[in-house]
Amino acid sequence: MDTMQTSRLLAVCDLLAEPATLLEPGEVARTGAEHIARLAGTELGIVIIDGPGGLVTGAYPRAIGRKASLALLEVSAGHRAGHVMDASWLDGAVHTDEGVRAVHFEAAGRFRGVVAAVSPISGGFTALEEWLVIVSARRFAAQLELIALHQDRLAEAQIVSDVESASEMQRSLLPQAESSGHVDIAGIVRPARIVAGDLYDWRVSAQRTIAAIADVSGKGSAAAMMMGSVRAAFQHTRGSDSPTRILTEVGSELWPVLDRTSRIVTMAAATYRPAEGSLRVASAGHSPVIVKQAGNTRSIAPTGVPFGVPGPGPEDRSFEFAGEDLVVLASDGLVEQTSENGDQFGIDRLLEAVSRSSGSSHEVARSLIDAVDSHGGPSPQQDDQTVLVLRANAAAS
């Protein structure tokens, strides 16, 4: 075996020994240029790759100028990928007068490149050498496909990480369960995806407690972002004993953005005055709203349309509220959860679960979620599930 053949064989062995995964187009270009020079037996090997990160050039054993790189890439792009073109016109630019063979390649819909073997040491290109250039181009394309896959995985992981941060943020904005002398209030949110388009919130003062639940149309990050605006609007409503007044203020504030984004928001609110033992409830298109009072459990129909819809507004419904009476504001994700055979949990089961419930607000909220989970069984959770329970503490009466 002569020196040239030995050299070529060693080049093939080195190529095979190279790790299959390179992480960057630059690495493909740099290592590729050396492989080409050795495999094709030329004085110069060039690999040029253009992609989302910009243009990279590998040239071995000496560098070539950026202008020559661009020219070679542009001309090669006019030729069919994978086929050898005679780029000897490039001789002057790469300082040689003995021949260039180049092959264009593309990968993953985002990379394109060219591999060029310049100035054969033996004086001319044989069919074998041209074939080696073609095969190398295929290999570089395969390496770039793997790099593209890796880039996509990183991008996805970044998105998931962002959404998980958003989810933590959402959870930290929810009020913690409180049980003071007059009121015991707790809530649970279970997003269907990582972030929820549902929310509950409340404000407790000595004179009154105001609690609310809202549901933005749609699911996921977009709905969750809208919910941030809903929460802010609720937080800065003026304190009022009338939940209708509170809802009307929130609705007016949200109207322009709901109109622009073609979304609707359902919302229900309850105000409780411990001193008078009175509860008022109003709903803008939101269900279910359940009041358990003096042993009687019933569902309260909304009187108003959701925010973002032209139509009648909500109205207050009043109840005496004392002892261990409770009001449950829940999202329709509980009622609509289906079991394996497609049977919805439904309002009747929810009313029954509320009627049977006992214990603190947190325990009641938990028991409702557990009842929905038992019903759902192995079926995946279909929608955000949120429940808020407000109980008049026995201490209040």
């Binding site: 699911k219 939101h286 129909a301 959701p306 329709d332």
Partner: protein, 114 residues
């Protein structure tokens, strides 16, 4: 979800079969909501075979309604199935969309207003 639409004088009719939810609502928007305009301000939607409707779909119906109202028309729901009727009642949207038992009745209502 399958949706068949047709255009008549000043009215778009749509017949929908299946689930109207976040996945299928895009087709509803391009074929019905986007077609509402000064020449076709009214929409009549046949919903006897819509087995499920979610909040994204309700929001799309509301958007269609607002466009219709802007052009002096209305969105009418025809032969609404039980699941859809229930959701409309639970959200109070039953007060917002006129409902009819048949497309013929919906057409008659439009003619009466004109």
């Amino acid at each position: 979800m399958t949706i068949t639409t047709s255009k008549e004088a000043n009215l778009i009719t749509g017949r929908m079969v299946g689930r109207l939810d976040a996945h299928t609502v895009v087709r509803f928007v391009t074929e019905v909501a986007d077609a509402v305009g000064p020449d076709h301000p009214n929409v009549a939607l046949h919903m006897a075979h819509v087995e499920f409707i979610d909040s994204s779909a309700l929001a799309a119906l509301v958007m269609t309604l607002k466009r219709s109202l802007q052009h002096g028309g209305d969105v009418m729901l025809v032969a609404v199935s039980d699941p859809v009727r229930l959701i409309l009642e639970l959200t109070r949207l039953d007060e917002v969309f006129p409902r009819f038992a048949s497309l013929a009745e919906a057409r008659a209502a439009i003619a009466a207003v004109a």
